[in-house]
C-alpha cells in the first residue's frame, strides 16, 4: 500500500554542523506534512509542519522543504546541538471523507557527535 518513509538510517553529525533528514512519500494526494522528534522513552514531539501549497517553511533552527515533483520532504536543522539527538519522523496527512488520515514514516535516528 501507499506509505510514507524510508528505511530507518542513522545520521551522525558533528555538533555545530547542519543536519539534513530526508523523507519520501508516495501519495501525491497528501496535502499536509509534519516532522516529529522522538527522544528515548518519550512520545513524539511536533517540530514543524508544511502544507502542500508551500515548498519551504522555517522555524527556530529548523527548515522544512517540500518537493512535490519528486514527492520528497526534508528537515534541515541548523547548528545541530546534542539535544537534537533523537529519532525524527515525517508524517503525511491525506484528507479523506471523514476527516484526515495520518501516515508516519519509519524514522531517522540523528546522533550528534561532540
Amino acid at each position: 500500500g501507499e506509505s510514507v518513509g524510508l528505511h530507518l538510517p542513522t545520521l551522525s553529525v558533528q555538533e555545530g554542523d547542519n543536519s539534513i533528514i530526508n523523507c519520501a512519500y508516495s501519495n501525491s494526494a497528501s496535502d499536509y506534512f509534519i516532522w516529529y522528534k522522538q527522544e528515548s522513552g518519550k512520545g513524539p514531539q511536533f517540530i514543524i509542519d508544511i502544507r502542500s501549497n508551500m515548498d519551504k517553511r522555517q522555524g527556530q533552527r529548523v527548515t522544512v522543504l517540500l518537493n512535490k515533483t519528486v514527492k520528497h520532504l526534508s528537515l534541515q536543522i541548523a547548528a545541530t546541538q546534542p539535544g537534537d539527538s533523537a529519532v525524527y519522523f515525517c508524517a503525511e496527512m491525506r484528507s479523506v471523507y471523514y476527516g484526515q488520515n495520518f501516515v508516519f514514516g519509519p524514522g531517522t535516528r540523528l546522533s550528534v557527535l561532540p
Partner: protein, 116 residues
C-alpha cells in the same frame, strides 16, 4: 503545563488476558488518536476520534481491539484477549483538529505493553 497523560506507563500481562489503557487528553482538545509503535512497523495509527466520535479505526484489529471515549476527559483502548504480537508502546495523542493551519498533535508518554 498541559499535557496528555496515559496510564499505566508499563504493563506486563499473560497471553489471553484483557488489557485496558487509559488516556486523558489535553483539556479542550477535540481530537484524540491512538497509535502503536514497534521496531518493525514504526508508528501506526489505530484509532482517531473527533468530538468523542470514532472517525477512523481501520488500523485496529477489530476482533480484539476496541477504543472508546466515555467522556471528553477519558479515552480507552482495550485488548481482549491479548496476544504476544500486541507487545508494543501505545501512544495517545490529542489535538485541536484544524487550528489555524496546523493539525499539531500532542503525544502522551506512552504505555509499554508486554504480553508473554
Amino acid at each position: 503545563d498541559a499535557r496528555v497523560t496515559q496510564t499505566p506507563r508499563h504493563k506486563v500481562t499473560e497471553m489471553g488476558q484483557e488489557v485496558t489503557m487509559r488516556c486523558q487528553p489535553i483539556l479542550g482538545h477535540n481530537t484524540v488518536f491512538w497509535y502503536r509503535q514497534t521496531m518493525m512497523q514504526g508508528l501506526e495509527l489505530l484509532a482517531y476520534f473527533r468530538n468523542r466520535a470514532p472517525l477512523d479505526d481501520s488500523g485496529m484489529p477489530k476482533d480484539r481491539f476496541s477504543a472508546e471515549m466515555p467522556d471528553a476527559t477519558l479515552a480507552t483502548l482495550k485488548i481482549q484477549p491479548s496476544e504476544p504480537r500486541d507487545s508494543a508502546v501505545y501512544f495517545c495523542a490529542s489535538g485541536l483538529g484544524l487550528s489555524g493551519a496546523s493539525y499539531e498533535q500532542y503525544f502522551g508518554p506512552g504505555t509499554r505493553l508486554t504480553v508473554t
